[in-house]
Symmetry: D2
Subunit: 365 residues, 4 copies
């Protein structure tokens, strides 16, 4: 049906194509009926080399995907949902787990045992220390033995490891929007690491699809609120990978807010440091060749409308003085903040072009 | 950059690919900075065989596309905007005109004279009679000599003509959502043609990107209103093509409404007729093999969330009695209602797969 | 605390005041924590002669009102919620029941037995026939003996009866927006009663505050859908009171839609009849002295923004031909469609000015 | 018509009433057709002692108020709009100026010359130094001689001066939401004044009603962005009145954001200091008797839904450590942030109850 592949944009690419073996990778999605699961289905279905073969969703098991996911159409809509505990089909090579933390680890373990590669979109493998996991998530972890192997997939800083990985810990949305602009400046040793204030604003899809009163349309619409104080779980994740990629120990003061919009996340970093007037250039240089990171011209600030529906992170930098700066970054929380980055990582794991199946243009408006 | 084409989904498709010539069609978009123009850019940029070569936009001429369109990235963002009067590059083979009615006709004429194919998204070539054009648009038409040649591109009913066309009159959003479910029932001679009531609800992007007070965020948000009475221009278009495709003369009573959402259009048809309990099956059969029309199971009604971001039209049918029925149809007004159907037509005009570059899954939520 | 009363607008009014006895009516609200209950609290708290003395809410019983209702402040916020079954305080004279149908009837009965006056915002006393109640609500009614006494409180057409009533059946939102413009034209015998099409669009607060997946923010936002086919319960109510007030037997074809906004309801009436060009004048005359009905100038159509937060119904009339017309009416579903009309009725029941405590200006934007 | 005053809540109040003279204050509103002007009309129209006598609006002069303001009804809707330059009626005693800065000063001067009292909602009289005004607004001020007399009307900290004032400089929305929680802690000398980070989120009505492309519905909806960097004008105002009321010289780092909602403003203060665990109690004590400030229980954070439509400021306090805290405050930018506080001040200026005509309960949802 999808003949996107009949012709191509240059002779070179087509020549490459003609000499390559043809293959499709069968994919399973566990937790298929949440908002992230729905995005994974959409992305995989229009991907040139992956194909959805198995969908699981505990509470909706037994139903057709199309009956639970209104945006779904075609072959996938007619697939029957399994439970997350059902055995994975043998021909599945890649599993995406979009399950609650805690539950994910068990499914990840089983999938690896069955010889699959896994991209885990939960928080279960984002930490290297069991103590920190417990501090952040308030529970013991069933498979800490996998911590060492898991690769934290903030793609732009972890390509080589991602390409070789069997298990990807896909980053959280808040850490992704925070770390992308922060890491290069940490590596440049220009940030005062004692006062990093992260004020984030997220669309409501980040809160998931549970039937809770405080997520009802009329409670969210025409309103904004802060939540997660005194310390949101993602603060630990930011600090761990600021050290991991930026090689500096930092303390973040992180306040997330929920906004009346479906998607989109904007993070405002209030920073102190040195040579702030050089920061725009440092970030511009760092990301010059990145397909999914766009540093705006100096003095321009991004909006989430500019990246919604794309896998991009847009970054704006404003020096307030020599020692003070504000950085604003925007991602689509369901794409670069979840399903999009998961696919970006999966592309690398299977040797495909990193951008395959991912949009750089936003769906605007 | 886009290596979507390295591998493919089946041996057959790849074999076909290997034996086909490689080509890219250069495309111009006139009226590039409106909401429809922005969608055309996004779609063309991720299309396997079309490529944006020329962008024009009168009021913004001279600026970079990326400075006017926040969702834009990459090479296209760096393109400088021409005026709609500037000569088209010679290598451009296809022109999309997303201009106001009246202005479009002049650009269409010039593009055809220069040997290009044209998909016109304005209303200028949707009518076959100058009298009706004048009645609907209140102005004389500069090029009525092109009326006969123009093909009204409601793709599902006009494929053969579209494939051979030099000039496509791309249908309006309201007529598209109305005619898709109506035409098969008209052909079945089951509708009472004297009382067809069309009550449509549209997202605000359909009203365009002009700086008008009544389109400000705070005037539209948290509100709904009817407009366009006593007779909206699209009523003539519905009637003309109900006759053209459905072979029956009808009178529509059409009331459009504007809603607080960016995209999406829902049309509620209040119908009288015969054998209404057979209508669901008639529509299901008619559209069984259509990639972009989905008739929902009997008793299920569509929402615009289910099709937003896709090129689909979803249709629900409810028989109220043997002689009364309600049909609800949903499209994304910027896609199946504008840029998506335009690309669907362009695919056919150049012999590509009709679905190339078009999404069947919605961006949900 | 509220000294709104120190001075007044004219000597006459003040003179009246000086000679009148001082009294405050103690009020109970059952079902206080839904959206309608919250509005009742807000209205009563700023009312000059009513005072909230008792709040009940089954699922939240035992909590403080302010912990469940974020908009609440002051004395009321500190009130502890009783259950709907708890005995009513003796000094309470007026009870508002904002409970689900079925449950409401039992509480209404108990309140009447205890000697209170009642305004019931459920559907339990809107019908005069047990058969019709059963057809519409699919259940047997526990207290049909109260049907005859109950006064259907569409205030503008029922003032005299409301003033004497012990029990008000407060009208539904859809019937209110439909009947206000329809009744005068039915009485004028100008409407073709065989084809009355009612296409309504409602804000989401009308669906209540239950924790259901399909009412989540991300499912409603940026989407519109029809529901309630083949026959919504309010169709029976419209027909019963079109006969009751308009003295004609009609059949409505009613299709409600849910919209991405908190409040507001717009009803589009597609009508056939006679002398449609006289309809605007008939409605203008009918409502000339009504404080809460505004007929817009001919050719002007209302928006819900114009009435949101007020107790008004705005009406626009467009004659399409001598025999066809479209009428559009707008109300705030929580005010004129629920709590506002309830208070308007209560004002009459206790001999207060009908407009006391009710806004005519909308909260715009 | 409005008989809100016939009875009252206690004998004492009524006794007071009976012995007081009756009067209505005639009011003019200049800049009546913006969003703030519309709110002033609504508030004045339901106020017990003020009455709208004159409306002016340059660009719409000559039209009826009801034709420009959809929420308007009744007598005011039929008033014809004057220009801001037209002479004020003699009987007008109070003028609200809701004009752009610069333009406001001229109208204020004229009104004072004509013997009226003035509440100016522009920025023109919020500063005491011409240098600071020029730094913030980039223009010379036509009437700096009025700086000394003008009273900055942050009501809770300026009651005595407001009551005696002839000219009120009504505070900006961002400073109001920032200063209310900040001033008591500055006076307690518990805040590290060198790093006060103010991250504010505002509904779009704060940007006004001009027909600008970047305020169109489709550009704002489903998006969030920061703006106003490197230094927004309100930063000067915050600093000046932190010193004025809090008696400490501070530097704020202020980043405002615009959100997809009509009204509401949430300000997140990221603070360092001493004894942060005492801050909640300090603020609770400070505002215990304030009708329009509500400090939430410790650990609870406010949402703008909780205050929308009311004149309240809700405050939440979270101590992160002994020396770090986050404070979140919410106001309705059009009420406590503009028209509501203006009326609160006007009440004091004329000796009325400060709460007259102002809501403490939010319009929720």
């Amino acid at each position: 049906m999808n003949l996107n592949v009949i012709m191509t944009k240059s002779f070179d690419e087509t020549d490459a194509l003609r000499s390559m073996p043809v293959m499709n990778i069968a994919v399973a999605i566990l937790g298929a009926t949440g908002y992230t699961g729905a995005e994974l289905i959409r992305l995989i279905e229009s991907h040139p080399h992956f194909e959805v073969k198995h969908l699981a969703a505990h509470s909706q098991a037994g139903k057709l995907a199309g009956d639970v996911l209104p945006g779904c159409a075609g072959k996938v809509a007619a697939m029957r949902l399994a439970t997350a505990d059902d055995a994975l089909p043998e021909n599945v090579e890649l599993v995406f787990t979009a399950l609650p933390h805690g539950a994910a680890a068990t499914s990840v373990f089983a999938a690896l045992e069955a010889g699959k590669k896994v991209v885990d979109l939960s928080a279960d493998f984002r930490h290297k220390s069991h103590d920190i996991y417990q501090a952040a998530y308030g529970a013991s972890h069933p498979h800490p033995e996998l911590f060492e192997e898991a690769v934290y997939g903030l793609t732009e800083f972890a390509r080589a490891d991602v390409a070789k990985a069997r298990l990807i810990a896909n980053p959280g949305c808040y850490p992704t929007s925070t770390l992308l602009p922060l890491v290069p400046l940490l590596n440049a040793e220009l940030i005062d690491t004692s006062t990093i204030i992260v004020d984030s604003k997220s669309g409501t899809s980040g809160a998931g699809r549970s039937a809770k009163t405080d997520l009802l349309y009329c409670e969210i619409n025409e309103s904004v609120k802060a939540y997660g104080l005194p310390r949101h779980r993602h603060a630990w994740e930011m600090e761990e990978w600021a050290l991991g990629f930026g090689h500096q120990s930092i303390t973040v003061r992180f306040v997330p807010h929920i906004l009346p919009m479906n998607r989109g996340m904007l993070t405002t970093l209030h920073l102190n440091g040195a040579s702030t007037h050089s920061w725009h250039e440092i970030l511009t240089d760092q990301f010059a060749d990145e397909p999914f990171v766009k540093v705006l011209p100096e003095g321009r600030l991004p909006s989430t409308a500019g990246i919604s529906g794309s896998n991009r992170c847009d970054i704006g930098v404003a020096a307030l003085s020599d020692s003070e700066a504000v950085i604003v970054s925007c991602i689509d929380n369901l794409l670069k903040g979840a399903a999009g980055q998961a696919l970006q990582n999966a592309n690398l794991m299977f040797g495909f072009d990193e951008t395959a199946g991912l949009a750089t243009h936003a769906l605007w408006p």
